[in-house]
């Protein structure tokens, strides 16, 4: 089947990717720079029999999304930093209740209201650790409009397969950028649907994992009746405060992501075979990193790029594998604290030099910024 190509914005690609993946419910609250996703969904979802809702705030948006998912919908929401902060408590519920859903966080510059229309990559740690309680999360980060589409499909697939919320951590640059998108034909990309129970309704336990560590999920309104709670619970979904149960449950919530980390962690390498210096980048900054690496090669410096498509779980193995080839790593990111650089240092240890390139003023990191750091002696 021939692909159709159109010039579209990242946010539009995210909305269309979600619908391609089977999303039929969106609840959200307007916030720059994510609002185009809501606008697209309000146009597209009713046409495919889905539901678009604008809620009273982001807390309600993620709550409605969770409710719809348990009623059987592939569902999602989109927001930016301030809204994502508001969503954290109920995102924790989605982790605890093992509710498949996708949260798009189009990152913008903070702190607080900050530079509301400007890009940032400063929510990397908020995505990972923003909720109370100990838990794991899957997060992906697109660098192109095409990846906005394909990673949104991936996000839904991971959510459905592992019964987890998945965060798509985009940024204002990629979300508002327009590029040619070659649309995958229907059926061209793999689409995963959540595993349904195969036992009788009487035997169904909504939180009893099968051999693959994943518990099947029924839908409200089906023949399967089930309980979901934000509180600690047993296999049957009813409250259970037993310490042994709590210990097992918390570990299980981590374990199912750890078990599948090789499927979840996606990276791309560019010119890493003969490199002396490695650039590690994610999101829109990847584009500057690639341009900088090509320019460095023209100047005789053998630079390679590792793009992190998955930022959580962190690509430890993939980074460690490249470690022996290099002495220097450059990590450009649009935040002050080097949220990814710190993780890279943790993986590679103190003997490798990590050069940070940080921008936190709402402007983009340019190839020139990165080249300057590559050339620093």
């Amino acid at each position: 089947m021939e692909r159709e190509t159109r010039l579209v914005q990242g946010n539009q690609a995210i909305a269309e990717g979600a619908i391609y993946a089977g999303a039929r419910f969106y609840a959200g609250y307007p916030i720059t720079p994510s609002s185009e996703i809501a606008e697209e969904c309000s146009k597209l979802l009713p046409k495919v029999g889905g539901v678009y809702m604008q809620m009273e705030d982001e807390i309600a948006s993620i709550a409605a999304m969770v409710g719809a998912s348990l009623a059987g919908a592939k569902s999602f929401t989109a927001t930016s930093g301030p809204g994502f902060s508001l969503m954290q408590e109920n995102l924790g519920l989605a982790v605890m209740g093992e509710v498949p859903c996708v949260i798009i966080n189009v990152q913008r510059a903070g702190p607080s209201t900050g530079l509301a229309t400007k890009p940032a990559q400063s929510d990397v740690m908020q995505v990972r650790w923003g909720r109370h309680g100990d838990q794991s999360i899957i997060a992906l980060s697109p660098a192109t409009v095409e990846e906005c589409f394909t990673l949104t499909v991936k996000a839904f697939n991971f959510a459905e397969k592992y019964r987890v919320p998945v965060v798509l951590a985009a940024d204002e640059i990629v979300a508002h950028m327009r590029e040619n998108l070659s649309y995958p034909a229907p059926g061209e990309l793999e689409i995963v649907d959540r595993k349904k129970p195969s036992v009788s309704p009487e035997e169904y336990k909504p939180f009893l994992p099968e051999d693959d560590d994943i518990a099947p999920l029924a839908a409200y309104g089906s023949e399967y009746v089930f309980h979901v709670t934000s509180s600690m619970h047993g296999y049957d979904g009813y409250s259970n405060n037993n310490p042994a149960n709590a210990e097992w449950r918390v570990a299980q919530l981590h374990r199912k992501i750890e078990r599948y980390r090789d499927e979840i962690v996606m990276t791309k390498t560019f010119d890493t075979e003969d490199m002396d210096i490695l650039l590690i980048a994610f999101g829109a900054t990847t584009r500057a990193a690639r341009a900088a690496a090509l320019q460095a090669r023209e100047m005789g410096i053998k630079a390679g790029v590792l793009q992190l498509l998955t930022i959580w779980p962190f690509p430890d193995k993939e980074i460690a594998a490249l470690g022996p080839r290099i002495k220097t790593v450059v990590v450009p990111e649009m935040n002050y604290s080097g949220q990814v650089a710190g993780e890279v240092q943790r993986v590679l240890g103190p003997n490798i030099e990590i050069r940070r390139v940080n921008r936190y003023n709402g402007t983009i990191i340019t190839p020139k910024d990165i080249l300057k750091v590559i050339n620093k002696e």
């Binding site: 039929r24 419910f25 609840a27 146009k43 009713p46 046409k47 029999g49 539901v51 809702m53 809620m55 009273e56 705030d57 807390i59 309600a60 948006s61 709550a63 409605a64 999304m65 969770v66 409710g67 719809a68 998912s69 348990l70 009623a71 059987g72 919908a73 569902s75 408590e89 109920n90 519920l93 209740g97 839908a219 409200y220 309104g221 089906s222 023949e223 009746v225 089930f226 309980h227 979901v228 709670t229 934000s230 509180s231 979904g237 009813y238 409250s239």
Partner: protein, 272 residues
């Protein structure tokens, strides 16, 4: 004639319930389940959504579908369930702290959307689970564990708020008037659009103890005396009205509910 007991919705072996002696939650739960039975609700087509608080623990005792959520947000979760599957009976159980204090925004907007949910807000005038602190419905001057010298704030009238925000059905009952309460809940459950049943209920452990009604019987007598019909209330002079409240049906209208309106809009979108 045999009366509905509602027992078939109650989880086996969960009695006695966790609530304190003299608490009204068991009476409300019983009446809600009797209403379920009289309306032939099934476990499959019913979803009980609860928030956080003593009343929010009610789902632990039920064998219907259930979703126990975060503090104040039950209506928002329920909205997603109902919006995606309009065939479900979605019943939302919240206390006064949960439903109209931390959750006030969601309450207003669920009523405004007129989404076909039934909210049963048990109002015991304080935060029972955390030790009897003041809530948005605690009457002015009343004592709680955080207003030991009296509440300086004014109380919120939950029913008036629901009416102003657009609910199709609004009623207030008490756990003293149990039979009437069951009928109000039943009517709310049957009504299309947003329904609110406020249930005034005793918390002898905290609110009663702090306000000279430590004994549960005293609290029930207080509900018996202060909860009056619209007609009786109208006969009271303004100075007599203090402390009295109207029980019974307050609002009954038939504005189209959210899902009906959404279906119309969706048909327009599909035709465009």
């Amino acid at each position: 004639m045999t009366h509905a007991t509602g027992l078939k919705y109650l989880k086996n072996g969960c009695l006695p319930l966790m609530w304190c002696p003299g608490c009204g939650h068991g009476i409300t739960l019983g009446n809600m389940l009797r209403a379920f039975e009289e309306l032939d609700f099934t476990n499959e087509n019913t979803v009980v959504v609860t928030g956080i608080g003593c009343w929010g623990k009610a789902d632990d005792y039920l064998v219907t579908n259930a979703l126990h959520t975060t503090h104040g947000r039950a209506l928002a979760f329920a909205t997603g369930v109902k919006a995606y599957n309009p065939k479900l009976n979605v019943v939302v159980l919240m206390g006064d702290g949960d439903g109209v204090t931390i959750g006030g925004n969601h309450f207003i907007h669920a009523a405004r959307r007129n989404i076909d949910l039934t909210a049963i807000i048990v109002n015991n005038y304080n935060y029972g689970m955390t030790g009897g602190q003041v809530s948005a419905t605690t009457p002015s001057d009343r004592r709680t564990s955080t207003t030991v010298y009296g509440n300086p704030e004014r109380e919120l009238d939950v029913c008036a708020l629901a009416e102003a925000a657009g609910a199709n059905y609004v009623a207030r009952g008490t756990v003293y008037h149990g039979w009437d309460l069951k009928n109000l809940i039943k009517e709310g459950l049957s009504k299309k659009g947003f329904s609110l049943v406020e249930v005034v209920s005793p918390c002898p452990t905290h609110f009663g103890r702090n306000n000279n009604m430590k004994v549960a019987v005293k609290m029930l007598n207080w509900l018996k005396e202060k909860g009056v019909t619209k007609e009786k209330y109208a006969q009271l002079t303004d100075s007599q009205k203090d402390g009295y409240f109207i029980i019974g049906k307050l609002v009954d209208r038939d504005a189209p509910d959210y899902n009906t309106r959404y279906e119309e809009i969706r048909a327009r979108a599909m035709g465009s």
